[in-house]
């Protein structure tokens, strides 16, 4: 399995690098969180710190958010949907390795490419901008990376669990878009959860969306206690188990309905 992962990863990194224009567009789409940051900064400029959040907090939060968005968001539902409609799923099914691993390495390969561009950019910006700073110990960094990695894995499983709906309807991508829209709000991508109404923030920490965005960002900003970090990992773990189960069920039941169209 290690060899297969290595080979698949190498191929998908190669695919990620194949089109320079696509890569540029991806990196440019990182600007969205920075626009949100500009809104908050103008608010801080007018009324002073908002709920205890200063300029440096917003700058560090959204800069980290831009990197996390590209490294943890999964678009697999749409890729899977396209594969089901075109029949390209058949080639994945013919291989003696579960399509789950093929899709996972596809996602990982693209993330490696994007990280290769975004991380150096972030490092350079932290050196240039005094407001962009992360006061973390090496252990804190490791915990933040572990949180982001588990958030990425949860997002992949969530996307794949939704993708199996594609065996029953052609609307899996649209259904996931609805779910993803809700997630964008509750993940902390649009606004830090600490700035949302308390009841919304309380719900958000129990939902799966925070795991890949708000949770690692709050660790990066040193805003969580040990207990809160443990709770965040527990929530992520429970959702991973839940979506893994849903995926396996959807896969086992859906595969019988696969029509292998195209060809």
């Amino acid at each position: 399995m290690t060899f297969a992962y290595r080979a698949l990863l190498r191929a998908h990194v190669g695919l990620g690098l194949a089109y320079r224009a696509r890569l540029t567009v991806w990196v440019l789409s990182s600007l969205f969180p920075l626009m949100m940051m500009a809104v908050w900064l103008s608010l801080v400029d007018e009324v002073g710190p908002t709920a205890g959040w200063r300029v440096s907090d917003f700058v560090s939060y959204y800069a980290g958010g831009a990197v996390l968005f590209h490294t943890t968001t999964s678009f697999l539902t749409w890729a899977w949907d396209a594969d089901l409609r075109s029949g390209d799923m058949s080639f994945k099914l013919l291989k003696p390795i579960d399509p789950f691993h093929q899709y996972l390495t596809q996602e990982m390969g693209l993330r490696v490419v994007v990280l290769g561009f975004l991380l150096p950019t972030l490092v350079i910006l932290t050196l240039l901008l005094p407001d962009l700073t992360y006061q973390l110990t090496p252990t804190g960094w490791l915990i933040a990376i572990a949180a982001a990695a588990s958030g990425f894995f949860l997002n992949v499983l969530m996307a794949m669990a939704f993708a199996t709906i594609g065996f029953w309807t052609t609307q899996a991508g649209n259904l996931y878009s609805l779910w993803w829209g809700l997630g964008a709000f509750l993940s902390g991508w649009i606004a830090p959860l600490a700035l949302l109404p308390e009841v919304v923030a309380d719900i958000a920490v129990l939902m799966p969306f925070r795991s890949s965005m708000g949770f690692p960002l709050e660790i990066l900003l040193n805003r969580l206690s040990g207990g809160e970090i443990a709770f965040g990992f527990a929530v992520t773990g429970i959702w991973i188990a839940g979506f893994a189960l849903l995926y396996r069920l959807g896969w086992a039941m859906g595969l019988r309905r696969y029509q292998a169209v195209g060809g």
Partner: protein, 330 residues
């Protein structure tokens, strides 16, 4: 002597596959109507098919478009879950999709592409090496052999999207055969290839069968593929098998006539030629006659004795015509 199951690579018993398909007429009104009230139809793609293939045998699988060939191949490859019936390939039940089963066969679909589109074909080969767990030495030997036989050398480092159809098809075959599968399901493997490319693929497949003893089930609309590679054919139409046996027997049974082609040293009128058989074509100096199989020898002798014949050839009707007649009779 009855064949044992152990001798058989593929066994299919009463295989049935139905699809439920959404139907709607063309136009905006029909689109809105279908939004409110969906109409579905059951398509009986495979309707009770049974056959078996011995290990090492090459079999042609023939039928018109929509006959059920590809659906049968997809059932045998584990892509489709059969509605009912039973199939085994190398002793495995395909839809169980066991890893050893997936390593034992390959499915090549002429109009589809398993290669990474934006990368050189070599990347797909390396991924397949890892996925199929091919030891490095064996991979090196097989790759060298395939590159050599398929003439892939100049194309290995070109992105697949930049290859011509023929080059891509050869790379596709190499990717599909790197793990040396014991069973090959080939669905139109020469589709779209030029004469040279198609001949190269046919020659390679024949050679592969001889060297490895692989079992091959081949569908093709090009009869030259079938006649060059297989003796036995299975003819399927409307999801049911119409014939299973020797290609020559099918020709004899379906087309009880042969074709005599004559070249004459001086012109002979069509009316005079008609006395020997059905005149398919003539320009006075050459003629193509259809005569019944039982009278072929007598007619040929009469032609030689009675007309100024320079050259004469007796041929079976083209296999395309035979197959056309099989389907026309249904």
């Amino acid at each position: 002597m009855a064949r044992q199951n152990g001798d058989r690579a593929v066994v299919v018993e009463d295989l049935v596959k139905h699809f439920r398909v959404h139907r709607r007429e063309a136009g905006v009104a029909a689109g809105v109507k279908s939004l409110l009230r969906r109409k579905y139809a059951d398509v009986r793609a495979v309707a009770g098919v049974s056959f078996s293939i011995d290990r090492g045998e090459m079999v042609g699988f023939l039928g018109p478009n929509g006959a059920g060939k590809t659906t049968t191949l997809k059932c045998l490859s584990g892509l489709l879950y059969p509605t009912s019936g039973r199939a085994t390939v190398m002793g495995f039940t395909p839809h169980e999709r066991k890893t050893d089963f997936l390593r034992s066969f390959t499915l090549v679909m002429g109009q589809r592409n398993q290669l990474f589109w934006d990368l050189p074909a070599m990347e797909t080969f390396l991924v397949n090496q890892a996925i199929y767990r091919i030891p490095p030495a064996e991979f090196g030997n097989t790759l060298t052999e395939l590159v050599d036989l398929l003439g892939l050398g100049p194309y290995l480092d070109k992105p697949v999207r930049n290859l011509s159809l023929g080059e891509r098809m050869r790379a596709e075959l190499a990717a599909a055969l790197l793990h040396r599968p014991a069973v090959l399901f080939l669905d139109e493997p020469t589709l779209g290839l030029d004469v040279t490319g198609a001949a190269a693929v046919r020659s390679f497949l024949a050679d592969y069968n001889v060297r490895t003893g692989a079992t091959v089930l081949l569908t093709s609309h090009y009869m030259i593929d079938v006649t060059a590679l297989t003796r036995r054919v299975i003819v399927i139409d409307q999801g049911q098998i119409r014939f299973d046996g020797d290609l020559q027997v099918l020709a004899d049974k379906t087309a009880p006539h042969r074709v005599i082609k004559v070249t004459l040293s001086s012109a002979v009128a069509r009316a005079d030629l008609a006395g020997y058989g059905e005149v398919e074509a003539t320009d006075g100096l050459t003629a193509v006659l259809r005569v019944s199989r039982t009278h072929t020898k007598d007619v040929a002798a009469r032609l030689l004795a009675e007309l100024p014949v320079e050259d004469i050839a007796i041929e079976d009707p083209p296999i395309e015509e035979v197959i056309r007649q099989v389907f026309a009779q249904e």
